[in-house]
Assembly symmetry: C2
Homo-oligomer: 174 residues x 2
C-alpha cells in the first residue's frame, strides 16, 4: 500500500518541527555558555540577502501549516511573524504542531488529485495537483527552511549533528 497523503506530510512536519525545537534548546545553551545574547543568533544570516534565523523558522512552520491546511481543504490560519527570541520561536513550533493535530486526515488523504491554488508572493498564484504540491513544493520548501535554520546555527558554532536535524524518526539502529 502506498503511504497516504497525510502519512507523507503530518508526521514529517511534526517530527522535524519538534527536532528543530531541540536544536533551539542547544542554541540557547550555547548562547548561555558563551555569555552572548541569543538574539544575535535569532537575527543571524548566511548571506546578506538571505533571511535571518527567525524568518527561516517562520517560513518552515508556514510551509507545514499552510501546506497541510490547503491539502485538508481549509483556509490556513495566519500566524503573525513577531518572534524575536528563541523562546518565542519554540512557541511557534509548538503552536504549529498543535495546529497540525487539528486537521482532518481523511480530507488530506483525498487531496492527491485535487487542484491546490496558493499565493506565490504578493501578486501571483500557483496551481498544482495535490500530490505534486506536497512532493514538489511543500516538502522541498519545508525541508529547505528547516535546513537553513539548522545551518545558520551550525555556522555560528552550535554543536548539532544530523541526528538533531532528523529528530525522533521511526528507525531501529543495530
Amino acid at each position: 500500500m502506498s503511504p497516504t497523503m497525510s502519512q507523507s506530510s503530518l508526521p514529517v512536519f511534526e517530527i522535524g518541527l519538534n527536532a528543530l525545537s531541540g536544536v533551539l534548546d542547544k542554541a540557547e545553551a550555547f548562547a548561555a555558555a558563551k555569555k552572548l545574547d541569543s538574539s544575535v543568533l535569532v537575527s543571524w544570516r548566511l548571506a546578506p540577502d538571505m533571511f535571518a534565523l527567525a524568518r527561516q523558522i517562520q517560513i518552515a512552520t508556514d510551509q507545514a501549516k499552510n501546506g497541510s491546511a490547503r491539502l485538508a481543504g481549509i483556509e490556513p490560519p495566519r500566524f503573525e511573524d513577531t518572534e524575536t527570541t528563541i523562546e518565542q520561536l519554540k512557541a511557534r513550533l509548538e503552536k504549529t504542531v498543535a495546529f497540525l493535530k487539528t486537521l482532518d486526515r481523511n480530507q488530506i488523504d483525498a487531496s492527491a488529485d485535487r487542484e491546490i491554488i496558493f499565493p506565490l508572493g504578493p501578486h501571483k498564484k500557483g496551481r498544482m495537483k495535490g500530490d505534486d504540491y506536497l512532493n514538489h513544493f511543500v516538502l522541498p520548501n519545508y525541508h529547505f527552511h528547516l535546513t537553513i535554520a539548522y545551518a545558520i546555527l551550525r555556522h555560528c558554532g552550535v554543536e548539532i549533528g544530523k541526528l538533531d536535524f532528523l529528530g525522533a524518526i521511526p528507525i531501529t539502529i543495530d
Copy 2:
C-alpha cells in the same frame, strides 16, 4: 489515489538534481566573472566541521541513488567520491539521474511495507519500513544536502533564488 512510492521519490530526485546542475552553471559563471578559481567554491564550507560543497553533492546524489535502489530491492552501485571540479560534479548529477531511470518503478511501488536495512556510518545498520525510510530518512537527508549545497554557493555570493532550488516542478503560475 495516494501517490505511489516511485512518484514520491524518482521525480523529486530528478527535478532537484537537475536544478542543482543549473545552480552549478551559475556558480561557474560567477567564478568566471570574478576571475576566481571555481575549485575555491567546490571546497567551500559553511563551518569548519561541515562538509565542503563537493561532499554535500556526493551525499545528496548518494541519498537519491542508494535510497531509490534499496526501495527497488537492488544493491546500489557505488560511485567513487573523486569529484574536484564543477564539471565533474555536474557529471555526477547526470550519472545519478541516468541511474534513477534504470530502476523498476513497480518494485519501488511495492516497497512501502518492506523492511529496508541500510548502513549507518561504518559500523551500524538502520532498519525502517519502506515508506518511513523514504519519508523520514531519504527525503529529509536528500533535501538537507541539496539545500546545504545551495546555501554554500549563496553564502559565497552566487546569485541564485528559490526557483533555482526548486527547478522544473509541475506548477502553473498565474
